[in-house]
């Protein structure tokens, strides 16, 4: 996950706008600012990091309230995802494609560079975890996992 070039970001924003319209919602200026901040960040951002990013790259300053409201909105639209383990946000990596989050989605977090990879659950993993849970009498409901590890790039840099 590398910082997006501007023309890529624009294309994603157009796709995001289309997705909103399809849901009867609007991608306003403020929402676009927040989404853009997350798209351009190589790492997940906390609400206040989003706020700072927006305020650095714009003339008018955004109230903190708006960031919280807008992050909620964007999450409902599946344009961003919230990482519970760090309470930070990442932009969805499937905004431009037709991916609809039908599968469970998991996140791989690099401990070295803080990059995030959004991956679909495998059937193998679903079964193994269901199995592990049912051994304790639990019936798993939908959820996303946030798995820590080392990404390809950082493995190569270290080796």
């Amino acid at each position: 996950m590398v910082q997006l070039k501007q023309f890529q970001c624009d294309a994603l924003l157009r796709a995001a706008e289309a997705a909103c319209v399809e849901n009867g919602a609007r991608l306003t200026h403020r929402r676009r600012q927040v989404l853009s901040a997350l798209m351009q960040s190589p790492n997940p951002l906390s609400a206040y990091e989003v706020l700072d990013s927006c305020n650095r790259s714009a003339a008018t300053s955004m109230p903190a309230m708006s960031v919280y409201r807008i992050l909620d909105f964007l999450e409902q639209q599946s344009l961003v995802h919230r990482l519970a383990s760090s309470n930070k946000y990442v932009s969805c990596s499937h905004i431009a494609c037709d991916h609809k989050h039908f599968q469970k989605t998991h996140f791989l977090l690099c401990e070295a560079c803080s990059s995030v990879e959004e991956v679909d659950a495998t059937e193998e993993a679903n079964q193994a975890l269901d199995h592990m849970a049912s051994a304790a009498g639990f019936k798993l409901t939908s959820q996303q996992f946030e798995l820590s590890g080392i990404c390809t790039t950082c493995q190569n840099n270290a080796g």
Copy 2:
């Protein structure tokens, strides 16, 4: 996970004290208060919930700082575990037994009653998740998963 009777709690506290001594640490009065609060709670508690619990059940009021310090200490001693997804704490379910957390430990969280079950990772789950991560080039490091679901009791109550 049900609220512990007092004599069970006392036995656990004795075991916890022994574990501390083995590590060259001490289970002081304040630490005992915090650990006891977590043991007696059927659900995970946030730092301030621990604080409230301690202050309800004791004459002298505990400063918030102490709770944070002590939770860190207890976590290092593996007497309590921190749940990253909710930023709350639970007492370890293996204080009395000889369980040493050699295996990865995962947590099953009931969405209905908020109870928590601490379970060992299965080899099957480890492999499935390693496999899923390596498909994206990630090498997983140690971690704990916090899986949402419905516990046995709540399944029966619903059915």
